[in-house]
Symmetry: C2
Subunit: 161 residues, 2 copies
C-alpha cells in the first residue's frame, strides 16, 4: 500500500512518534517523584500519581492490543495492583512502550476511521480512541506537574520528549 505519495494530515508513523514522545515525558514525570510521594502524595483527595499511572498503564498498551485484535475487553487496573516500587512501574512502562510499537505496526491507515468499542464502553472511530489515550495522559500528567510543584520539585520541561 503506497500512502506516502498521498498528502496526509499526519502519517501513522508520526502519530506513533507523537504518542511515544508524550509517553517518554510521562516517564520522566514518574522518575521526578520521590519514591514515597509517588505512592502517597496528592492534593484535595485526588488520586496519587501512582494511581493515575495505574490508569495510564491500564489504557495505553492493553487498549491498543484490543484495537489491533478487535477484541473488546473491560477496563481493569488489576495488572498493576501488585507494583510497589517506582522501578517496577518504570519497567512496566518500558515493556508497554515496546508492545505499543509492535502492535502499532499491525494498524493500517484504513483502521483509523473504523469504529471500536473501547473497553466495551466507548464506541468511537479508532483515531478518536487513540487521541483519547494521548489526551487523557496529558491531562493527568498536567495534574502530576502540580503535585511536583507542590512538593517543591521542578517538573521536566513540557517540550522535552
Amino acid at each position: 500500500m503506497n500512502t506516502l505519495s498521498v498528502p496526509q494530515v499526519i502519517s501513522t508513523q508520526d502519530l506513533l512518534k507523537h504518542w511515544q514522545g508524550h509517553r517518554a515525558l510521562t516517564r520522566r514525570v514518574i522518575e521526578a517523584f520521590p519514591e514515597k510521594d509517588f505512592f502517597e502524595f496528592s492534593i484535595a483527595g485526588m488520586r496519587t500519581f501512582a494511581k493515575l499511572t495505574d490508569e495510564l498503564l491500564a489504557i495505553a498498551a492493553p487498549a491498543l492490543k484490543g484495537i489491533v485484535n478487535r477484541q473488546v475487553l473491560p477496563f481493569t487496573e488489576k495488572e498493576t495492583e501488585n507494583l510497589t516500587t517506582k522501578a517496577q512501574y518504570l519497567e512496566r512502562w518500558d515493556r508497554d512502550t515496546k508492545e505499543i510499537n509492535d502492535n502499532w505496526e499491525k494498524l493500517s491507515i484504513e483502521d483509523f476511521s473504523e469504529s471500536f468499542n473501547l473497553f466495551g464502553q466507548y464506541e468511537f472511530p479508532i483515531i478518536q480512541n487513540i487521541f483519547y489515550f494521548i489526551d487523557n495522559e496529558v491531562h493527568h500528567r498536567g495534574q502530576g506537574y502540580v503535585y511536583l510543584r507542590a512538593l517543591g520539585i521542578e517538573p521536566p520541561f513540557f517540550w522535552e520528549r
Copy 2:
C-alpha cells in the same frame, strides 16, 4: 482536490472538531471557577487559571492566523492584559473560536506537513504546531482541574466536549 476518497489517519475537519471539542471543555473549566478564584487562586506559586488562559488565548487563534498567513509573529499575551472579568475572557474565547474556524478553512491538507516557525521560536511541521496547541491546552487545563478540586468544586467531566 479530492482527498475524501483517500484513507486518512484523520481528516482536516475531524482534527478541527477534536481541537474545538477540547476548547469547549476548557471554556467549561473557565466557567466553573468562581470569579475571584479565576484571577487569584493558585497552588505552589503557579500561575492562576486566568494567567494560564492568557497563554492559551495567546497561542490558539493568533498562532493559527500566523500559520495561515505564513507570518511569523512573536508570542505575546498583550491582547488579554486588559481583561478583568470572566465574562470578558469567555467573550474573547468565543471570538477566537470563530476566528479559528474561519482560518482553518484556509488550510489545505498539504499545509500540515509544511514547516512553520511558530512565534519565531519553534520550527516544526504545522501538524506538530497544532498538536502543541491542543496538548498545551490539555496540560494546563489538567492543572485547572486540580485548582477546582482544591477549591472543592467538581470539574466538568473530561469526556464532555
